[in-house]
């Protein structure tokens, strides 16, 4: 008798009514050949279906406990996700942030309006440029007169001392890329000086970096907490089913058979937590949005928070299911060796 093959029918005791003929045995075409692929596939699918249903049934038996576990996981998931969404909104607020990184090209004094406009059009087509605006010498003088309060004094000057300017808005706020763009623009004909306010750019980059790191750190911490929560929950399920696991192992259940319902349970907890986290985030963003719209209205802006994008929501669900699955896997792997039959 091989350990991997069913014994011959003649080796077995046949319960009353069982068909002793190998050809009619539903476990395979012939016991001597072992089960066929179709039978094995059916067994595998049936085992998965049974594990999934069993896990659902057990979660359903303790609805309050399951809900609270999902809620704890949902809170842990929604905090880094919520912060990430807020950061995205801050970045979106970003016309103003990007404006802080504008490059001003002061043209030579003899550059006329037509040359300035041609330069603006050329710059608009360059890579890394989001927008370019030409301010003629006349416009610059008028603006300066209005804003500086030195209108009378400036009118006394024989010539307009201000050059034409092309204000370039870059498509991304990245210090090395901005510096490279500035150098490229400075080399253009008719450009006297290309000026980039790097202090603002650096501040902006530092703020965004800080935000990203904070979100990342928080995500790592909360994901660790989430794995601990799911691990501990699965450990309790394992403890409650210790006798069952020992019996399963004694009657020939493999480690993967034992592990399967717990993995489904972890994934289901993750799915529940993901759905709840999506709901929490959608509600929170909507609730915050009222205040944000009111505040931005006071500054004459129509800025409003974007909700949870569908793609982010789906990513959240997939991530939550994976985390639940991984947490359960770790818990079962740790405890499975302790569950040898006694």
């Amino acid at each position: 008798m091989s350990t991997t093959r069913s014994p011959k029918v003649s080796e077995r005791v046949a319960p009353k009514g069982a068909d002793p003929k190998p050809g009619k045995n539903k476990r395979g075409a012939s016991d001597d050949d072992g089960p066929d692929f179709r039978t094995l596939m059916h067994a595998w699918l049936e085992s998965h279906r049974a594990s999934l249903l069993d896990s659902l049934r057990r979660l359903g038996k303790q609805p309050i406990g399951s809900l609270f576990t999902c809620l704890v996981m949902a809170v842990a998931l929604s905090m880094p996700m919520g912060l990430s969404l807020l950061l995205k909104n801050v970045e979106r607020l970003g016309g103003s942030w990007q404006r802080a990184a504008q490059i001003s090209l002061y043209l030579k004094l003899d550059a006329g309006t037509r040359e300035g406009e041609a330069l603006r059009d050329e710059i608009k087509g360059m890579p890394g440029v989001s927008e370019a605006e030409y301010i003629s010498r006349e416009q610059a003088l008028e603006e300066f007169q209005q804003q500086s309060g030195l209108g009378e004094a400036l009118r006394e000057l024989p010539d307009n001392p201000l050059p034409g300017v092309v204000v370039v808005t870059p498509s991304e706020v990245d210090k090395p890329a901005l510096e490279a763009l500035r150098q490229r623009l400075a080399e253009l004909p008719r450009v006297e000086v290309a000026q980039l306010d790097l202090v603002w750019v650096e501040r902006l980059a530092a703020i965004l970096k800080l935000g990203d790191r904070f979100v990342f750190g928080m995500a790592v911490l909360l994901i660790s907490a989430l794995l601990l929560v799911i691990g501990n929950t699965i450990r309790l399920h394992i403890e409650n089913r210790r006798t069952e696991i020992e019996v399963i192992k004694l009657v020939g259940g493999t480690d993967s058979y034992v592990r399967r319902p717990f993995l489904y349970m972890g994934a289901l907890y993750g799915l529940g937590a993901g759905v709840l986290a999506w709901g929490i985030l959608a509600f929170s963003m909507s609730w915050l949005n009222d205040a944000v719209v009111g505040l931005s209205g006071l500054y004459g802006s129509d800025f409003a928070l974007a909700g949870v994008p569908g793609s982010d929501g789906v990513s959240l669900l997939i991530g939550a299911v994976l985390l639940g699955y991984i947490g359960a896997w770790i818990a079962v792997a740790r405890h499975l060796s302790e569950l040898a039959p006694r």
């Binding site: 350990t3 319960p15 539903k26």
Partner: protein, 223 residues
């Protein structure tokens, strides 16, 4: 079917479970292993179930060397064995039907096939009308019969029983032994560990007697 060749089992704490034990059992044989508490009966069963490995010697089960078997093969080995425990080891949150169906569910049989085999196993232990009850609703003797039904439902080549009548009155014990004999008549090798010498003597099967891990007797019970 079973071959022990100088099999010894020593534990890390110095306790010796078995001393160089040697015996053979033929396919389809019915044998008892008896001895006082601590004689090595349970160790012998645990070795056969690959719950433990021999420290030395060679243990063959249907040609398979259990000292060399790898962990991944153990579940498949156990699918060829039925086990009956003294404390039944039933799952009290599952019906009688589902307890008995467990080995078949592990094999992945279809629902219809499982129902058919469980019904026939229930018929063999005379519990057909109890299928939908829970083990807690049954008497101790009935629970033991459920344990036997679970042990035979997957048609094992070898049936092991550890003190299967330990908690039963003499009438029930005899009844349970009758079930084992029925199963054995169909070709299954049956090995029962028991210290109930009076019961064993009535059965007139081969009896191995262990004492402190040594085989001190091998012959027909009652002789």
């Amino acid at each position: 079917m079973i071959r022990f060749e100088q099999v010894a089992k020593r534990y890390p704490n110095g306790h010796v479970g078995l001393h160089e034990l040697s015996f053979r059992a033929r396919r389809g044989e019915f044998l008892f292993v008896t001895g006082h508490s601590g004689a090595g009966k349970s160790t012998l069963l645990r070795l056969l179930l690959a719950m433990e490995r021999p420290t030395s010697g060679k243990l063959l089960l249907a040609g398979q060397d259990l000292g060399q078997i790898n962990n991944a093969q153990i579940p498949f080995l156990r699918r060829q064995i039925g086990v009956v425990f003294q404390n039944h080891q039933l799952l009290f949150d599952r019906t009688v039907f589902n307890n008995i169906a467990l080995p078949l569910q592990i094999l992945g049989l279809s629902k219809a096939e499982i129902a058919k085999r469980v019904d026939s196993a229930l018929e063999r232990v005379a519990l057909v009308d109890k299928a939908q009850l829970f083990p807690g609703d049954l008497s101790t003797g009935q629970q033991q019969r459920v344990g036997i039904a679970r042990a035979i439902v997957h048609q094992p080549a070898l049936l092991l029983a550890d003190e299967p009548t330990g908690n039963l009155d003499p009438r029930l014990a005899a009844e349970i032994m009758g079930v084992f004999e029925d199963i054995n008549r169909l070709g299954t090798t049956v090995l029962i560990a028991s210290h109930d010498l009076a019961l064993i003597a009535r059965m007139r099967h081969r009896m191995l007697t262990l004492q402190r891990g040594r085989l001190i007797g091998d012959g027909e019970a009652g002789q």
